[in-house]
């Protein structure tokens, strides 16, 4: 077992973990932050995407021990308080950017850094940026619309 101190959504947690514990499982099972979803565990589906020191990354391809001393942001860290959504979340609500919602946390955590780097994205750029996240429900059109709407809200 190794002791790690990881800041998640601004709160510091110190825990004993096995080296083989994936960061995705640490977030879900050790911290109860089940907003981070697990689809494939080999980097392909994007459901487990989180922010590692403010850059998007797959939590299923990182060990929790590697996050020692680092800052992680998960979907639970987006909303400012329990009555309000982050503008990106609000846009997904308004534009019907989700159906079952399984893919949504990973998509949100990919789009936060994307919109930061590209505040005025074209539809093509949005589609390209979404290519690392699989959605089995929506057919993507409403997700593209939601990201476009979010870019306007976040100006």
């Amino acid at each position: 077992m190794k002791q790690v101190t990881i800041t998640v959504n601004g709160t510091e947690y110190t825990k004993e973990v096995e080296p083989r514990l994936l960061l995705s499982d640490f977030l879900r099972h050790e911290l109860g932050l089940t907003g981070t979803h697990v689809g494939c565990e080999h980097g392909v589906c994007g459901a487990c995407t989180i922010m590692f020191d403010s850059e998007s990354a797959r939590s299923c391809l990182t060990f929790a021990v590697q996050a020692d001393g680092h800052e992680i942001t998960t979907v639970e860290g987006l909303a400012p308080d329990k009555d309000n959504l982050h503008p990106l979340q609000q846009a997904f609500w308004e534009a019907h950017g989700l159906q079952c919602g399984y893919c949504t946390p990973g998509i949100l955590m990919s789009m936060i850094p994307f919109l930061k780097q590209n505040p005025n994205p074209t539809e093509d750029e949005i589609r390209h940026a979404l290519s690392g996240n699989l959605c089995r429900c929506t057919g993507y059109q409403h997700i593209v619309d939601a990201v476009k709407l979010a870019s306007e809200k976040m100006k």
Partner: protein, 290 residues
Amino acid sequence: MKPASFDYYAPNTIEEVLDLKHQHGDDAKFLAGGQSLVPAMNFRIVQPSALIDLNRVNELSFIKEDKNVIRVGAMARERHLEFDSSIKKYTPLLHEAVPFIAHPQIRNRGTIGGSIVNADPAAELPVLMIALNARLKAKNKNAERWIDAKDFFAGMFTTALKPDEVLVEIELPFAEKNTGWSFMEVAPRSGDYAMMGVATLVTLDKNKKCKFAKLVYLNAGDGPVDAIEASQSLIGETINDKLIESVASHASEKEINPFGNIHASIDFQRHLAKVLTQKTLKQALERVSK
């Protein structure tokens, strides 16, 4: 879908890395970005007894200009290569190719060294290393040596590194004057491993005759495939459409050896190689003059 147990070490210096490797031997693996190793561990295709994590070795993650070369530490992230201004200026072929590697979420973690040592025949960076005539610096506890990229790749997922060696640095020569470049690939979806791809360089002399050419293919054999005959047949010539057609036919029919997969038959891969050779040569030529 969970990895087997292992001991974990997170050294801060190359010296500690090499000591740990010396102590733990063949069963210990280096962990770079983890974007190839961790999936393999999750599937239990590999079960190392120990992981030596390179992520805290700061001296391995640099990109810097030196005399006529760019030096890149093995732990430089693919995402950093993508946005680095020296790479864009002096090795534009690499700059053009990096965004084709996976997705930003993967490139944020994946490293140049990890991709090179992984030696996947479908990967972009090994092909780029051959095309750019890179040199790779390997180190073990007792010695260090430079290996030319052309001697580094030794077949499917195999390299010239010895088990106790760590790749520390990649040296990339600046592009020569009057060189045009082009990288293109075709993948089922953006970010997927490509069905076929080619990295192309052409250098012209002052009479606009070709004095150097390079055509290197991915997913076209058991490692990066350097089409030496096709490139050679361009040298000394004024490149026109007819020559491009014959060079593309030769490379795609005679020099590459694709295996086919669920996305593309061997014939289709050869067809893609031919079309991509023509397109990249044309684009490279257009860029020489600029």
